[in-house]
């Protein structure tokens, strides 16, 4: 265990706490992870601090759990799996290091939230490719490292996007900069000659950023990350298409993305949409759910600097030929929710309270990746499992996000429940575990293995785990980085 004196020397007393009340916040989260209390929480302010902490942790074999976002957490990845852990809370590192319009890139420290970065980017005329309605306390770096799906699949060329480069202190204590950021020269020296930290591949032949994404803090601690940004449109025309036939909407979405005609593009079921847009709970929720079509495809057509109206009009015309072929209609509102309102909403983090908590106070997500043809079958499987667990199928929120320019899609089931109701909570817990098993059996790919199901997920691919284990041994030889997460 790292001694208190040593930690004080690094971060000072104000950035260090052993108080139970403070530690409670890190001992558990909304997920069904076991409660495990850390020894202390330390809040470093820079990479040098972090490196010192990591070096000490190596010497003393102290587990470290990095956290950047504020509560409530949902995945269990920031709750220690073992005793004796030190929480490395990066939320104080709030520098927006660089926002570059010309090269469409932004660079932030791990504690920067979406709420903080969005206006800074907007000032320069650019914006982030965002996940859907992150909570207020969610950090940008946290989202990027989790490989959260983003709402503009057209601009996601690779699953690692929009992450560009990162600086990381590996579990070994080594500092490493990924991609273009690696060098030559320091970041500032690169800026002097006109370089930015944008190209993600390298240094050398490897793409090191891919090893820290999806790692749940098990490889190292990121001290800053850069991300690619997109231009702010000068004109936006959002639309919704409602249908009870998901296949039709998926077909439409795949063509919109294939032809690169839309920016934001995703599908929500009526439950999820109602959870987001209900203004007066609980009455309006039921009403809204009932008036919304079963599925709603949302997309936005945009124009930029050159003749935006012409661009938008030409896309709308081409989209109309698609909707006509599929027998659906693109409209400006569905069930009382306007497309404009949806657009405005999804270009920001979630308003408080976080939308997933509004219905019942808690939510367990079952999320995976899949391909278009398998999706309907997997939704059926989920519905069966849900029914079996006596959970109302109509209460399950569903979010379908085409990813990586349409090569796959993210499917997310939101299971809302009352955390104070232990039997409901247990039912949801069991339901979620059963669902993972059943969905795996139906070809769902759980690329982000969290919580109790992680083992079930990872056991399917022993060969990959064997390689990951070798990598882990390299980057974190003493297994101090969030031990017990992923397959480590």
């Amino acid at each position: 265990m790292i001694t208190k004196e040593k930690l004080v020397k690094i971060v000072g007393t104000n950035a260090l706490s052993y108080k139970p009340a403070a530690l409670d916040a890190y001992s558990s989260d909304i997920s069904f992870n076991n409660t495990v209390r850390p020894v202390c929480v330390v809040k470093p302010k820079n990479a040098a601090d972090i490196q010192k902490i990591v070096n000490l942790a190596n010497k003393t074999k102290t587990p470290l759990v990095p956290v950047s976002s504020g509560p409530p957490h949902f995945r269990g990845d920031t709750v220690p799996s073992t005793g004796g852990a030190v929480i490395v809370d990066l939320s104080k590192m709030k520098k927006i290091i660089n926002v570059d319009r010309a090269r469409r890139v932004a660079m932030v420290e791990p504690g920067v939230t979406f709420n903080e970065l969005i206006p800074a980017a907007k000032k320069e005329g650019i914006r982030l490719n965002m996940p859907l309605l992150p909570r207020k306390t969610k950090t940008v770096v946290g989202s990027l490292l989790e490989r959260e799906p983003v709402v503009m699949p057209k601009y996601q060329w690779d699953i690692s996007d929009p992450l560009a480069c990162a600086e990381v202190i590996f579990g070994s204590g080594d500092e490493f900069r990924t991609g273009q950021a690696a060098g030559p020269g320091s970041v500032k020296e690169q800026w002097t000659v006109g370089g930015v930290q944008k190209a993600p591949y390298g240094p050398g032949v490897a793409s090191w950023h891919r090893i820290i994404q999806g790692a749940q803090g098990t490889m190292g601690i990121v001290t800053w990350a850069s991300m690619r940004c997109e231009l702010l449109p000068s004109l936006e025309e959002p639309f919704v298409v409602g249908s009870s036939n998901l296949d039709t909407l998926m077909e439409m979405a795949s063509w919109l993305i294939r032809l690169r005609m839309v920016n934001e593009c995703f599908i929500l079921n009526n439950t999820a949409l109602a959870a987001i847009f209900t203004k007066k709970w609980p009455k309006d929720y039921r009403n809204l759910k009932d008036t919304l079509p079963a599925w709603v495809l949302f997309y936005c057509v945009a124009g930029y600097e050159y003749f935006p109206e012409e661009r938008v009009n030409s896309y709308i015309k081409d989209i109309t030929s698609i909707t006509q072929r599929l027998g659906v209609e693109a409209v400006k509102a569905a069930g009382g929710v306007s497309a404009n309102e949806i657009l405005k909403t999804v270009q920001q983090p979630s308003a408080e309270p976080y939308w997933k908590l509004r219905y019942k106070g808690a939510c367990q997500d079952v999320l995976f990746l899949t391909i278009n043809d398998k999706l309907a079958g997997q939704i059926d499987v989920m519905n069966e499992v849900v029914e079996k667990a006596d959970y109302p199928v109509s209460d399950v929120g569903i979010y379908i996000q085409p990813i990586v320019q349409g090569t796959g899609c993210h499917c997310e089931f939101n299971l809302f429940y009352d955390p104070a109701n232990s039997s409901e909570a247990n039912r949801v817990r069991e339901l979620s575990n059963s669902a993972v098993k059943a969905l795996i059996a139906n070809g769902a790919f759980f690329s982000r293995p969290y919580g109790e199901s992680a083992g079930t997920i990872l056991n399917k691919d022993a060969a990959t785990i064997a390689v990951l284990t070798k990598l882990k041994k390299m980057f974190d030889p003493n297994n101090i980085m969030n031990p017990g997460k992923v397959c480590f």
């Binding site: 690779d158 699953i159 690692s160 490493f176 990924t178 273009q180 060098g183 030559p184 020269g185 000659v193 006109g194 370089g195 944008k198 190209a199 591949y201 240094p203 050398g204 032949v205 490897a206 090191w208 950023h209 994404q213 999806g214 790692a215 098990t218 231009l231 294939r258 690169r260 005609m261 930029y304 050159y306 003749f307 030409s314 015309k317 030929s321 990746l369 391909i371 278009n372 043809d373 990586v404 349409g406 090569t407 796959g408 795996i440 070809g443 769902a444 790919f445 690329s447 982000r448 990872l458 399917k460 691919d461 060969a463 990959t464 390689v467 990951l468 070798k470 990598l471 390299m474 992923v486």
Partner: protein, 489 residues
């Protein structure tokens, strides 16, 4: 360096006598390397068996596809992947195709175009493997580098079969990453140094929409193939600009406007190479084009998804070019030339005429990354070519460099090469010196660090990536059977 009889027999038992050879007669065809043998596996199972034998006998091996270049330590077992040439799947809905290593890009592209699809053709040409990581002329639309791979099937240096991402977990090809951190981080590279050890036996590659015809209407006889007509909603043009700054202004604006199917930063010399059928004609045409261009420039292909889309894109193109003082090259406005270039740049990816035809060799410095930054460096590298041109060591291309936009200008590629006669030792030395000096200058002045430079100098400046890579290779290959070198392309 022949194999011992019993060792040879063991490998022969895997592939059959017809598919292994250690006769010295074949070695000159294999980079004149002193190979242990050349072996031709037909599928993943045979690759695995071969690799396991290599581990048993501590025999170094390298896999190669078409094998443009290669350097192999003595006694390497050369896995010629020619027999692994199947297209496994084309998934139109989810926009990916799965190929074995020796499917050449021309084959895959022809199948894709029938379906209104396309993919990233590497600059080495459509005569090379479709499977490999790489970058090419259409990167503006079709991305590049390691960003086009999805799932990969990989036989590790120890002979384990690892299937990345969704392939390993749910037998699907659409995702190469996870569960958890992605091993795609290390499954990469086609050209040394730093070729991923082991063998890629299959990979899924991303596909892109192709708004053009299901096949180009090619007419004529080799070497003059033209198009009988320019297909609907397609246009190719070359624009030159009064300065590099203006060229960049237009290039980035075009990227942000998202209107180019291809934005290829050809110089006049390269255009001349592509549209001519022999060296002599090339010299004449280059001279003519050099007078036509007002400065540096680029080649664009505009492809409309519909007539309206095409009209819009052309309008924006015209506007941006005008704003930057660009001038359209009359030569390329000629439909015959336009057609030749459309075909060259999409169905062939240019390459051989631009590189080898003149002298038989070329040495290049390619960099992927930030285009405006690398252009700055390339200007200096181009000036440094001038003394070599004066001495007659290298082909006179005006000291030009080239490059292209990637992902609508988010990323970029810049390259500069010298074409020379490899039998001329003075020329070869001069070119190699130029290459070393310019690479060193890029490093010193902080433009970029080419991984072709000395690893022990560059590595420490780049987070010691070389040491991490060495560590990784050691972990993956405890028996040391995957030496550096070789080329898959």
């Amino acid at each position: 360096m022949a194999l011992k009889k019993d060792v040879y027999k063991a490998f022969e038992d895997v592939v059959g006598p017809e598919n292994i050879c250690d006769d010295p007669a074949i070695m000159p065809a294999y980079h004149s390397a002193e190979l242990a043998a050349v072996i031709l596996p037909k599928d993943t199972a045979e690759v695995q068996a071969i690799v396991k034998l290599c581990n048993k006998f501590k025999l170094p091996f390298r896999p190669v596809c078409t094998g443009w270049t290669g350097m192999f330590p003595k006694g390497t077992l050369y896995l010629d992947l020619r027999r692994m040439n199947r297209i496994i799947e084309i998934n139109e809905k989810n926009m990916y195709a799965v190929v074995e290593p020796y499917v050449i890009s021309a084959q895959l592209q022809a199948e894709l175009m029938k379906r209104g699809l396309n993919f990233c053709i590497k600059g080495a040409g459509t005569n090379c493997s479709a499977l490999l990581r790489g970058h090419g002329h259409m990167d503006q639309t079709t991305s590049g580098d390691d960003r086009n791979h999805l799932a990969i099937e990989w036989v590790t240096p120890q002979g384990d079969i690892v299937r990345s991402g969704s392939l390993g977990s749910s037998d699907e090809w659409f995702c190469g990453d996870g569960p958890g951190p992605s091993i795609r981080s290390i499954l990469t590279s086609a050209v040394p140094p730093g070729v991923t050890p082991g063998v890629f036996t299959k990979a899924a590659v991303k596909l892109y929409h192709w708004p053009g015809p299901s096949s180009f209407p090619v007419v004529g006889q080799s070497p003059k193939y033209t198009l009988s007509e320019i297909p609907a909603n397609l246009m190719a043009r070359y624009y030159s600009f009064p300065s590099v700054e203006k060229m960049w202004q237009a290039e980035i604006a075009l990227g942000e406007a998202e209107i180019c199917y291809e934005l290829m930063g050809f110089n006049a010399a390269m255009v001349a190479c592509n549209i001519t059928t022999c060296n002599e004609e090339e010299e004449v045409v280059f001279e003519k084009m050099n007078k036509e261009v007002q400065g540096p420039g680029f080649f664009v292909i505009i492809a409309g998804n519909s007539a309206d889309d095409f009209a819009y894109k052309k309008k924006v193109l015209g506007h941006i070019i005008k704003e930057a003082g660009g001038k359209s090259l009359k030569t390329v406005e000629d439909p015959e030339v336009e057609g030749i270039l459309l075909c060259q740049c999409i169905r062939i990816s240019a390459s051989i005429r631009e590189t080898f035809r003149a002298g038989g060799a070329f040495n290049s410095i390619p960099i992927m990354g930030q285009r405006d930054l690398t252009i700055k460096w390339a200007i200096g590298a181009g000036k440094a070519k001038e003394p070599l041109i004066k001495k007659g060591y290298i082909v006179d291309d005006g000291g030009a460099f080239f490059g292209w936009g990637v992902e609508q200008g988010h990323l970029g590629k810049t390259e500069i090469f010298c074409k020379f006669d490899p039998q001329n030792t003075k020329a070869k030395e001069a070119v190699e010196t130029w290459q070393k000096e310019q690479t060193a200058r890029a490093f010193k002045e902080r433009y970029f660090a080419s991984t072709m430079g000395p690893q022990d100098e560059i590595g420490p400046a780049l987070s010691n990536y070389h040491l991490w890579w060495q560590k990784l290779v050691k972990e993956l290959d405890p028996n040391g059977v995957t030496p550096e070198g070789g080329a898959l392309v």
